[in-house]
């Protein structure tokens, strides 16, 4: 088993009900997992817990037999070797594309850094944009930089938070395809969170449907087609969830 998540529970301070209740699943290497759910279902919370940005109240996470957290251990986010692509990309505005990508490569030798930078730029097809600043790029380009930055240090796992929410519909379809290609080419295990069934079906090897912090359904996209026990609305205001987290 490559990644094992067992019985993870979490609740935000000052709120009564758990944001996540007894979440468990195993993931194979190279698998693309999609977590699908409406806002408030706890899907972003899973990413933050896996990344180490929040502390679970219970449960454990191991990647390749290394315990990232359980009752005794809590590895800081910077020690986990997990990459993350944020919903708003969070590209450092004071750094160029190249500097953003190099940011996580501080442990490499100078020549290796350069090589790796060129590799990932090539992967996301942004070779000519190394010297640009994020605000000089389009939304799709920014997203690809964010992916390149996350992939560059060769993480065990990459997490993507609503990767398409900031893109227009046309771009979304194209990028979806690109993203799957990139992830498969790099053979990186990934989990992405979305509220859009189409995204999930187009991208994922397996889909996890979440409801009220519990797993509702889990399976391959083809298995899930036609099963709509709890219809997921297409347009969901995202602001509520952000607010909840900033409190």
């Amino acid at each position: 088993m490559f990644i094992s998540i067992q019985n993870v529970c979490f609740s935000y301070p000052n709120t009564g009900k758990p944001a996540l209740d007894q979440f468990s699943m195993n993931i194979e290497k190279g698998e693309v997992i999609s977590i699908l759910g409406r806002s408030g279902s706890g899907k972003s919370t899973i990413l933050r817990l896996l990344a180490g940005l929040e502390k679970p109240t219970e449960g454990s996470l191991t990647i390749q037999d290394e315990v990232l957290f359980d009752g005794n251990t809590f590895l800081q986010p910077e020690k986990r070797g997990i990459g993350m692509v944020f919903q708003d990309y969070a590209l450092f505005p004071h750094m160029t594309v190249g500097e953003n990508i190099l940011f996580g490569l501080f442990q490499l030798k100078k020549s290796d850094k350069k090589k790796r930078l060129q590799e990932v730029l090539e992967l996301v097809e942004l070779q000519d944009y190394e010297k640009r600043y994020p605000h000089q790029l389009s939304g799709g380009q920014q997203q690809r930089v964010a992916i390149a930055r996350a992939i560059a240090p060769n993480p065990h796992l990459i997490l993507l938070d609503e990767p398409f929410s900031n893109l227009d519909a046309e771009l979304q379809v194209k990028i979806r395809k690109d993203l799957r290609e990139i992830l498969k080419k790099a053979n990186i295990t990934s989990i992405f969170v979305t509220h859009d069934e189409n995204d999930a079906h187009a991208l994922a090897d397996r889909i996890v449907k979440l409801k009220d912090g519990c797993i509702d359904l889990i399976g391959r996209p083809c298995d899930l087609i036609g099963i709509h026990p709890h219809p997921v609305p297409q347009v969901t205001p995202m602001i509520e969830e952000r607010e909840l987290m900033s409190v």
């Binding site: 020690k79 708003d88 590209l91 940011f103 994020p134 900033s246």
Partner: protein
């Protein structure tokens, strides 16, 4: 909570140390409220306190309303419209902040009084003899005018920064819904800017509460007068600290009200791309009117008093010794620079701590540092002296080890003065830094950590560069405030240490306002320079 704390040890420890140091002197004041009432206290309560409090309330509410009206309207016009001189007014409208209110008060009185330029011109050139009552500025409305003209930039700067960061869509959608500019202003702009309006206005209110120079000169009896009357007049510092403590209580009350009003609403942007509002070109009389309005405020708050000060400087040039002025400039810039730097560093540490820990206490505690800003400087000074003398006595064995034979070492050095500045002005710097942290949110930090970079390294490589704007604006604000600061500098300075503000005050308090013009102009000049440099710098920043 405790498990979270464990993550951020170094930051927690340093933030805790900083906050303890900030609060210690204030605590000595707060405990004063529990001291038993004596007969002076009873007398103050019986005869004067009621009317003093009434005057204070009128003064702060009128000043708050006026500074909000002027500051917010200017901020709105500047962020929304294009009109002649907009580029200049944008930063020049901050300049009145560089004039200490007490100098402003002396200057305006100098302009309008019997021997002032207005009355003499009318008298000598036009032979008009005027009812002096019409030219009296030394009353409550006069004081409100002075405070408004020299303090409105607090509201202006804070709301302008806020409005310019507002996503255009919010305001545009109001327009699309068919609201006219006025209705947009009242129904959308004011409600969304509420937090920044309150932020700016509370600085104004606190500044009015702690100021003594203007009201003393104008003969207006406020709560501050009561504090000083019991201290200086009755020689009863216990009662006066008790009064100051009540003032602190009042400020805490206001802070709580504000907190409740604000509720849980907090906005932060994690995205780098907030689309700026496209400016609407004003034409014809409307453009003229807006430019005139801006220039009028700027003239009242800056050009007119400056012209008068320059006139006085020319009149008195050569009559006062000038050879030490370079030293005063050096001293002023040195203490203001060091203190402002320290405040910003401390604010960065405490702000980062409060962001890392996320608890309510960690959010609220640094806010309380504003207490140091709410009470008259002279009272803070007593608290600081007391604390430093205790510290010196405690350190005597150490002093003896290194061969110093005197007891007072720290308390006769600049360290005491600088510490006092830090205690007093921390809130100003923290405000700025905190809003900077709020603005960048936590995603950038999280992104950095997930790329394998630890909290401290992230702080230097990501947070600090992104906070550059907030760091500089906080620094400038604190720097200017310290440059014009009076009671602390006067009381806590070491031997033979003069600054521009002590010099200006010294002449002004001897009723030699003309002789005070040189030092005042230098204060204004340095502050104005700082503002200009700051703006040139910010304009170069990519959005």
């Amino acid at each position: 909570m405790q498990r979270r704390l464990a993550n951020v040890n170094g930051w927690t420890v340093s933030a805790a140390i900083i906050m303890i140091l900030l609060f210690l002197p204030n605590i000595t004041i707060v405990t004063g409220i529990f001291s038993p009432s004596n007969e002076n206290w009873v007398h103050m309560k019986e005869f004067v306190l009621g009317s003093f409090i009434r005057t204070s309330l009128i003064l702060i509410s009128a000043t708050a309303i006026l500074t909000i009206s002027i500051g917010l309207s200017l901020a709105w016009l500047i962020t929304q419209y294009q009109f002649p001189l907009r580029g200049f007014l944008k930063w020049a409208l901050i300049l009145p902040l560089s004039i200490p209110p007490f100098i402003g008060a002396y200057t305006y009185h100098g302009i309008v009084n019997y021997t002032g330029v207005i009355q003499t011109t009318l008298r000598d050139q036009f032979d008009m003899v005027l009812n002096p009552a019409h030219f009296d500025i030394m009353n409550l409305p006069g004081a409100i005018f002075i405070y408004t003209m020299f303090l409105y930039p607090y509201v202006y700067t804070i709301t302008r920064v806020f409005l310019s960061q507002q996503s255009a869509s919010l305001i545009e959608s109001a327009r699309m819904l068919g609201k006219g500019p006025w209705r947009t202003f009242f129904q959308v702009v004011i409600p969304i800017s509420r937090v920044s309006i309150i932020g700016g206005a509370s600085l104004v209110v606190l500044e009015v509460l702690n100021d003594y120079g203007v009201v003393k000169y104008f003969g207006i009896q406020t709560f501050t007068t009561a504090i000083f009357q019991t201290w200086f007049g009755l020689g009863d510092i216990e009662s006066s600290i008790k009064l100051a403590a009540s003032l602190m209580g009042f400020v805490i009350f206001i802070l709580v009200i504000e907190k409740v009003l604000r509720g849980r609403r907090q906005y932060s942007y994690s995205t780098t791309k907030v689309r700026p509002l496209p400016l609407i070109q004003l034409k014809g009389w409307k453009a003229g009117l807006v430019t005139t309005y801006g220039l009028m405020i700027l003239s009242l708050g800056f050009f007119i008093p400056i012209a008068q000060l320059i006139d006085w400087m020319i009149l008195t040039f050569g009559t006062i010794p000038m050879d030490e002025f370079l030293t005063y400039v050096k001293n002023s810039v040195l203490v203001a620079g060091i203190s402002a730097t320290a405040i910003i560093i401390f604010a960065l540490i405490v702000g980062n701590f409060s962001r890392l820990v996320q608890g309510k206490v960690a959010k609220l505690l640094p806010k309380l540092s504003i207490l140091g800003y709410s009470i008259p400087g002279a009272v803070i000074a007593v608290a600081v002296v007391t604390a430093f003398i205790a510290l010196d006595r405690f350190l005597v064995p150490l002093y003896q080890m290194i061969g110093i034979t005197t007891t007072l070492v720290l308390s006769v050095s600049l360290i005491m003065l600088i510490s006092a500045y830090i205690i007093r002005f921390f809130a100003i710097g923290y405000n700025s830094i905190e809003s900077g942290y709020d603005k960048i949110g936590t995603d950038f930090r999280d992104a950095s950590r997930l790329l394998g970079v630890g909290v401290t390294k992230t702080f230097f490589k990501v947070d600090v560069p992104m906070l550059k704007g907030a760091i500089i604006s906080g620094f400038i604000l604190v720097f200017i405030d310290i440059l014009k600061e009076i009671p602390l500098t006067l009381i806590l300075r070491p031997f033979n240490f003069d600054t521009l503000s002590t010099k200006a005050f010294q002449y002004a308090s001897d009723e030699k306002i003309m002789e005070a013009s040189q030092a005042s102009l230098l204060i204004v000049g340095i502050s104005a320079l700082a503002i200009v440099v700051f703006y040139k710098f910010l304009e170069k920043e990519p959005d």
